[in-house]
Subunit: 400 residues, 2 copies
């Protein structure tokens, strides 16, 4: 072989080696991460327009996705397969996030001002409830293409929409704030939505949730006491008023401070509701909605969240008592423990079988993780001004 | 360049091309399948020692794993992340299956004769209930290494173990068939398990399940009427007998035909139980266990399974009525529909939000999929003599 030939062969070998290394790297990048998604979740970093992706098997941070806009009051739902999060921002942004690849799949700004959303029971549709323009928009969960626009128009006026949840029967139910109506939209044929309207439910319903496995839809009323209840198994029976002791109380709250009903939880056959403006948790029988007890607590409750087996209810509080979380013992309906996770506790989320509870302490830039049985702190995750915490197990539960 | 040099260079290029193609193929193989696991599940092919892996977003078969031994009465639980299934075989086999890669990770034969298992609330431990030798063995969920052996010995005799489930507090609860006892094993320190024993619960408890979100543990009694109930929130209150109308009935069944209690379901505040030996479904108030109704049905019920929102209960039947499934309307407690999915209906499983129900028709070699709302058949999956159907959403629910 001549020296030129040797050089050419050597060059070939060198190229081979470079190519080999390149392809090996490419292969490992292409491999992505093959992993289960049942233990994933997101933490909203409200001030940064970003979500942190976490996993709760080993309690670690596995990624982050930013560029999500205004995430005040942001909430999220998850795709049927648990791979994607849909994040609803206050600015009308709807973002689809791939939790495995930690990347933004698509982001649209679908309204001027929005307040949460839902995913249909079959996982095919994402619905968003909008303040401006008032109504519900429905998107294909795969592409985020618009498939239906449902203006909330009553008596010639557009209404803000709140309390949007999916039903087991494939519909969406939501509440018109200005008009005081509950609507059930059947979107089996998105081009021809069939809407059932329940007017006159009371003044200024500010939020709505389903309890009792998705059976009962309740709307809180800003303008008067009590809750409006619609039995989704028998909507023909209409809306009735329950729990007349619940509501504005002696001193009506200013309307600009919208409370939320997501704080309602069911445990041991009772509904636990944060009393409005009082240092109390209200307890009502989930069958009759008769008041069972009022539990004195540390401050004005914000979220009441049941451990998945219903044995405990954990509660956080409004400013200036927002450094504290209390644990209600459900059988005795008494406060059993008081914890101080840190400044500005914003949200609480249990793992699906209740072996951990994650608590965001905004002004500590931390999410603290506790064992609900021993109250031991199991660990913490760093996050910038964390607010909402959402785990993929929500994809398996109606109304979450 | 000489011709030798050109040939060497050409050879180099050729090698490069071959290597490139090889690496491209290797890369795609290494990539595995990046996908969510929230919509996965398995169908047991009882006669073939094999499970079929399915996904319910698009209702398709995505793989199969064989070599699992005797799968009569096989059941399964899922890892916390939804990636792995643990299959319990009658022959004492415990198999860990990777649902994404469709491969057997490990299989051990841990006893001579076994009857199901459970996964701890934190996902770290797999427990198996054994007939021979009677007791419970506990394995590390990651490695399947044995971490604790709990012989079920009472008064010097080993007892068969049935009705093994995990509790929210990290323990396992199970029933000793021969001794007539319920045991709660706290395995927080597997080397020093702490066992609480509840003796004298009644003659020959043949199975046990938790209902009411994991709060109440009930054991069926073969030797007498009624059920043994243990409130896991107040175990110190002891075991009490409920529903005395439930049990052997007028004609005691032969012991070789072990019935199972997994057929019990809760919907709309009531427990639905297959009556033993009668063409009836028993309905009891989940709070008081007082009998509410007896619903006449097509045959001897085997499984009663609630749609996740509790609006319907679907029931299959024992031979010779096992070609039929009936749908109970929960508000009216009446049979609303009768379907004929085919010969030898073995099992029913709902998708987590109830938009589909999958039904195995063993002698049709088919799993049929229905829309519970319209009763339309949405599709079918071919499987050899299918029996149990298990979806990964079970990983998010206590007692499944």
């Amino acid at each position: 072989m001549t020296s030129r030939a040797r050089r050419a062969a050597r060059l070939g070998m060198k190229s081979l080696l470079v190519l080999f290394l390149f392809l090996a790297v490419a292969a490992s990048a292409m491999a992505g991460t093959v992993r289960g998604t049942g233990d994933l979740g997101i933490v909203v970093e409200r001030a940064s327009g970003r979500v942190v992706i976490i996993e709760h098997s080993h309690r670690s941070r596995i990624g982050a996705v930013d560029g999500l806009g205004d995430l005040s009051h942001a909430s999220a739902v998850f795709s049927r397969d648990g791979r994607f999060a849909y994040v609803f921002g206050r600015d009308g942004g709807l973002s689809k996030i791939d939790l495995i690849e930690a990347k933004l799949v698509r982001r649209i700004v679908q309204a001027g001002n929005a307040i949460g959303g839902a995913i249909s029971a079959d996982g095919r549709l994402i619905a968003v409830s909008n303040y401006e323009p008032g109504g519900v928009k429905i998107f294909d969960a795969e592409s985020l293409d618009l498939v239906a626009d449902l203006p909330a128009e009553s008596n010639g006026q557009r209404s803000k929409v709140v309390g949007l949840v999916e039903t087991a029967d494939g519909a969406f139910v939501y509440t018109l704030y200005d008009a005081g109506e509950i609507w059930i939209a059947d979107v089996a044929e998105p081009a021809r939505p069939a809407i059932r309207k329940f007017p006159g439910i009371g003044a200024f319903p500010y939020d709505g949730v389903t309890v009792d496995g998705g059976r009962s839809y309740v709307a809180g009323l800003f303008g008067e006491d009590g809750l409006a209840l619609l039995d989704l198994w028998r909507p023909e029976a209409g809306v009735r008023r329950v729990l007349s002791g619940y509501g504005r109380g002696e001193e009506p709250l200013p309307v600009y401070k919208m409370p939320h009903l997501e704080g309602v939880t069911v445990a041991g056959g009772n509904v636990f509701l944060p009393a409005v403006g009082r240092h109390e948790l209200l307890v009502a029988d989930v069958r009759t909605w008769a008041e069972v007890a009022r539990i004195p607590v540390h401050g004005q409750p914000v979220f009441a969240v049941a451990r998945p087996d219903g044995r405990q209810v954990w509660v956080n509080f409004a400013h200036p008592h927002n450094d504290t979380v209390q644990v209600i013992d459900v059988p005795s309906l008494k406060v059993a423990h008081t914890l101080r996770p840190g400044k500005a506790v914003m949200h609480l989320e249990f793992t699906p079988k209740g072996d951990q509870v994650w608590i965001s302490a905004r002004d500590e830039d931390l999410v603290r993780i506790y064992d609900p049985r021993t109250l031991a702190e199991l660990g913490a995750i760093a996050a910038e001004k964390p607010s909402g915490i959402f785990f993929t197990a929500r994809a398996t539960r109606l109304g979450y």
